[in-house]
Symmetry: C2
Subunit: 349 residues, 2 copies
Amino acid sequence: MKKHNRSRPRKPNRITAEDVAREIGVSVMTVSRVLNKKANVAEGTREKVLHTAMRLGYVPNRIAQSLVTRKSFTIGVIVPEISHSFFPDVIRGIEEVVYTTRYNLLFIHSAEDQKREEAAIQTLEENQVDGILISMAQTVKKYTIYRRVVESGKHIVFYDRCARRLGMSCVSIDDIETARQLTGHLIQHGYKEIAHLSGSLKVSIGRDRLKGYQKALIEHNIAMNDELIVESGFHEMGGYNAMKVLLESSKKKIPRAVLAVNDPAAFGAMQAILDMGYRIPEDIAIVGFSNDVRSAFAPTPLTTVNQQPYDIGRKAAQKLLRHIDNPDEPVEHIIVNTEHIIRRSCGCP
Amino acid sequence: MKKHNRSRPRKPNRITAEDVAREIGVSVMTVSRVLNKKANVAEGTREKVLHTAMRLGYVPNRIAQSLVTRKSFTIGVIVPEISHSFFPDVIRGIEEVVYTTRYNLLFIHSAEDQKREEAAIQTLEENQVDGILISMAQTVKKYTIYRRVVESGKHIVFYDRCARRLGMSCVSIDDIETARQLTGHLIQHGYKEIAHLSGSLKVSIGRDRLKGYQKALIEHNIAMNDELIVESGFHEMGGYNAMKVLLESSKKKIPRAVLAVNDPAAFGAMQAILDMGYRIPEDIAIVGFSNDVRSAFAPTPLTTVNQQPYDIGRKAAQKLLRHIDNPDEPVEHIIVNTEHIIRRSCGCP
DNA sequence: TTGTACGCGTTATCAA
DNA sequence: TTGATAACGCGTACAA
């Protein structure tokens, strides 16, 4: 029997299962069986294989393995943003779950860009990932691409930013409910003129937090005043400008409290409040949303809400793995509880 | 001609190059050639292939591709920590470079654990990554595993935490030089009794920053006083305790300024200084290291240094890609410039 | 318990 | 310009 001819040189001289097999005069299959912990293999050969695999420094080639098993043991993660602490914490949660399994993480940053997100999804498909964890870029309008992926038999779990009415699992907080609770907290302080600095209403977060705000007012029979709702967007500058508008336009009556759509907007608003000579929370109370690292260090520490990014990551990863392992795993919208972080800016001592 | 028999059902019915080829009565090779933009293919067939590939929703299988080309177009990234802002920013830098190429990122978190780091490296090898970007876990002592990887023909570039004298490329700041400059800044304020809260001297960062501190003192002919060097470790609590030791032990003479090994240690120390009734910077000036997000919001804003994590990530990725593309790319220790962030804690106005 | 043949989806090689 | 064939390294199915 003529030995396999190794005429063509290989780039790095990687050890294959065949090398191990040849070394001890056994077939590749036996090596494969040992390394995959199949039962039907003699104890003696098992040890011999294990030993020489170790000695030769054999590293199984997952790529070849994936090709034949049609399973990559890889899950793709698409993240729209990495700068702030939220998504890194989500990633940490995902990692801690995935770490305990055989799966690996293919990581792509969409940078809040629909085009990049689409390219990312395509890349993940090309790499035959077993599932995808995705938080939508804010500019995304069309859901067709997600459908296409699912129809091709790939699992998707959304985290934080969900595409609704799409029949896919999703893990997020309940923005409406959380905004309702925060507003309720302000109302319990006795405040009645409560303003809302809303995010863009083109984004579900913006819409939902506004809804929660309105819901709380209605529940407490407080008359809605459209002048008290100003679109600030999600950043400091917008918060600053929106707050100025509030303080200047309604000269007769400034709001007694403010629900900002998130902490950055709240920071901007706080600056505007101070610049206009008002005190926080004595003249105007304010609460934020998202537990920005800076919120504890603001001149008046900001009351806000922790969105539990770590938990979101963990639960999303767990759900995806369950979808992969079990075709009958039900589609679910998992709500992660938020944690209110009460500081001085709302008027609490 | 009998159609290929698809008797065995395939999991998700993925479209392959063969499907595209059969559709227009051409060979798989032609399809392959078109999709790889090879020159020698008739314009007519090229268009037909491209068109039906699109129509059928063909997605090339990178795994099969990798198997035959022995190139995965994947680079592995090992990160020791994700909680603080430094590493996420590094990742962002890596991503922005890699995004412009065909490469993908396989991401693993070592959680500062040597065992996990070793497992991570093994996983990356199994997945046939073309190169590895790694920041060593702090507990790592043995470099043998890195050598093993390189000998197997895989490229490694270290970032931030480098294994020296190992003949591998590395991208980091110059800790000695930066600590020297920071200490020099304190000296220029006229301070003479300058203490150093050092990190663990088992870690190169700890050793180097101490060296830079000593270098600056020597350059300015300031006598070294071992009592002024206290090991605080890298966290708030250690900084607090170390500072207390400094303020209590040397009762006769408290230090006029402090170089903390990093910002968290500085925060702890600042608390201790305030608790003991001293003022910052009037009684004791202090500088940190690493530009923690909180540093701008401390009661006395902290003078510190930005380690340019984004730049580190970018340059590390660029260097690795060059190593991969060019076997003759020289091994290099690339120094990223730091940026001094002057605030009030050092005594500057 | 072990081995043989074959295929996973693609590219390299050589021939047509 | 195109196609047939043989890998790439491994697992599945079946035979020995």
